[in-house]
């Protein structure tokens, strides 16, 4: 069966490919320009301030990093859990993971007050800091996935694919747990003071990463005129449905446990009831657009089989995921710190009131630039190396059932 799956680099040299390349390149350049503008002038040109210290760039960056580790899932299912149907999907999965991580890290670094001190960040380590650990987790992740890809793509090394895949799987769990812990370790802010934060990030990564993966898979197959069978696509979309449901479940658990603890009632009230933009983003963005609607779309008996609907569902999951990041990162900071329980406080520095934050254009541009960096890397890589299978028609993916699936495969093509 393995012999049936061939990989081939992207061959078409049409204007489509180079147009895409140019478009992504331009967006990347705009993003870099925005970063330079912020660095050159200082952060006063952004909406970030001493209350909302992490803003829009961090929403993008954390989303990309979380999605990166989730994108590796497909490969893990193939080599760690031995589901052979997933194996042809693995190289793209590894590639997307690296690309998304690179995009996210670029945004994170370019938003620093001193991106020029990157060398300092790499030579001075405070081993107590979860942030420093993350720097190592991130760079290590890149290296591990590169090795994993090599084992997969070099026939002579194939026998090591399984252990390499296993190692990468463990590493990615550590990575997302680490990312979640960045927030979990902040004891002072009520919204983050929850042990469930880290596992919630792992589940979020499954969902966001898979949604990104399905979109990239569908787009790349369509644009390079390769055949993507229904079987594999439906399997992926059903998996996505499970993940989206799991995220909803974790969000529910998070808020319920918070409601149990009396001291967290006010922050819950803020997010769920009267937090203005954050409440709206939570219910409409995160729960409705990012959860219930895509769930209905994916599981609808007829609509759920349409490729357009599947694509839109993935896009909604990503949008909802961004909303969720915004609620967690920005909302968590906007809610006033409680210094004097039972007291009404006021000061010249916005004590006791909800901090206001209006992201400015350069922040969006930098964030979008990060997304473009990820997509640009994928676009270039699939042309230079053999990441994409020639075909994922049903007959090739799952030969045992090929005979009865032939009909659908033809239609899908």
């Amino acid at each position: 069966m393995k012999a049936n799956v061939h990989f081939r680099e992207v061959l078409n040299n049409g204007t489509g490919y180079y147009g895409l390349l140019a478009l992504l390149g331009a967006i990347v350049l705009i993003g870099l320009g925005a970063a330079y503008f912020m660095e050159h002038n200082g952060h006063f040109v952004t909406g970030m301030n001493n209350e909302i210290v992490w803003g829009m760039p961090h929403v993008f960056a954390v989303f990309l990093i979380v999605a990166a580790s989730g994108a590796l899932n497909v490969a893990s299912i193939g080599s760690v859990f031995g589901k052979s149907q997933y194996k042809p999907l693995a190289p793209l999965s590894g590639l997307l993971a690296i690309a998304l991580l690179a995009g996210g890290l670029a945004v994170l670094v370019l938003d620093l007050g001193h991106p020029d001190r990157l060398i300092v960040a790499m030579t001075y380590y405070n081993f107590k800091s979860i942030f420093a650990w993350n720097v190592m987790l991130y760079t290590g992740f890149m290296a591990v996935v590169v090795v994993y890809l090599w084992m997969m793509m070099e026939r002579k090394m194939n026998k090591y694919t399984k252990p390499a895949g296993f190692f990468a799987f463990i590493w990615r769990l550590a990575l997302t747990t680490g990312t979640g812990s960045i927030f979990g370790f902040i004891v002072a802010r009520e919204a983050y003071d929850a042990a469930i934060m880290a596992p919630m990030f792992v589940i979020m990564s499954f969902s966001f990463g898979l949604a990104a993966y399905i979109l990239v898979l569908m787009a790349s197959f369509k644009w390079t005129e390769r055949e993507l069978g229904d079987k594999i696509l439906y399997r992926l979309k059903n998996l996505l449905g499970i993940f989206v449901g799991a995220v909803l479940y974790f969000v529910l658990a998070y808020h319920l446990t918070n409601l149990y603890a009396a001291e967290h009632h006010s922050v819950e009230r803020f997010i769920l009831l009267d937090g203005g933009i954050y409440t709206k983003l939570f219910w409409i963005g995160q729960i409705l657009i990012g959860g219930l609607i895509p769930l209905a779309m994916l599981y609808h008996p007829t609509l759920g089989k349409s490729r357009a609907v599947i694509g839109w569902a993935c896009a909604l999951v990503i949008l909802g995921g961004m909303a969720q990041m915004y609620v967690i990162i920005i909302g968590g900071q906007a809610f006033p710190l409680v210094l004097f329980p039972g007291m009404e406080v006021s000061s010249s520095f916005a004590d006791g009131i909800v901090a206001s934050y209006t992201p400015k254009l350069p922040e969006y541009l930098l964030g979008i630039g990060g997304v473009a960096i990820a997509l640009l890397l994928v676009t270039i890589a699939v042309k230079v190396l053999r990441f994409l299978p020639e075909s994922l028609a049903d007959a090739i993916v799952d030969p045992h059932t090929a005979s009865d699936a032939k009909g659908t495969a033809k239609k899908a093509a």
Partner: protein, 173 residues
């Protein structure tokens, strides 16, 4: 990407250096930087806090060492303190009577650093010229205005061996 960013930066830097280097190759006569006079001498025998040759080559090591000592251990000797470098070396500008800024190519630091094309990172946080202070006097509770160029001066706590030196010289009765 971060790596790429640095890579691109170093490429640009390299290109810049190559361009700067061109005239050096073209004319063998390169105008040496004009280094402004310091406003006082360290001692009769020695111009600066270490022999001048040593300072030209290794001033950054002294400053770096002092930086960590002061920052982390609270050691505040003045011999190698950046503040004293600035107080002594950044002369008054002729035109408006204001001391020069680092952006001025005749500023003590930039005169050489421009020539050697080495970026100075000190002055994002440290003042690039002697600073006037209007501060409360630390030892009295009334606010006594002290408007002068900030210098180590009266009220300074002196260390044990400085006291010894002073006693030797008969300045302490």
């Amino acid at each position: 990407m971060a790596v790429m960013y640095n890579y691109v930066r170093s490429l640009i830097l390299l290109a810049g250096m190559a361009l700067l280097g061109l005239p050096l190759v073209a004319q063998s006569e390169t105008p040496l930087p004009v280094i402004p006079e310091a406003s006082s001498r360290f001692s009769a025998e020695q111009a600066c806090v270490e022999p001048t040759e040593e300072m030209r080559k290794n001033h950054m090591n002294y400053i770096l060492h002092q930086r960590d000592e002061t920052m982390h251990k609270g050691i505040r000797t003045r011999q190698h303190s950046l503040e004293e470098c600035i107080n002594c070396h950044v002369p008054v500008e002729d035109k408006d009577g204001q001391p020069m800024r680092i952006t001025n190519k005749d500023h003590f630091c930039s005169s050489c650093h421009t020539y050697a094309a080495v970026k100075v990172d000190c002055f994002q946080c440290h003042a690039d010229r002697p600073v006037k202070t209007t501060a409360f006097h630390p030892l009295t509770s009334q606010a006594s205005e002290k408007t002068a160029f900030h210098h180590s001066d009266a009220g300074e706590t002196v260390s044990a061996d400085t006291l010894e030196v002073l006693a030797e010289e008969g300045k302490l009765q």
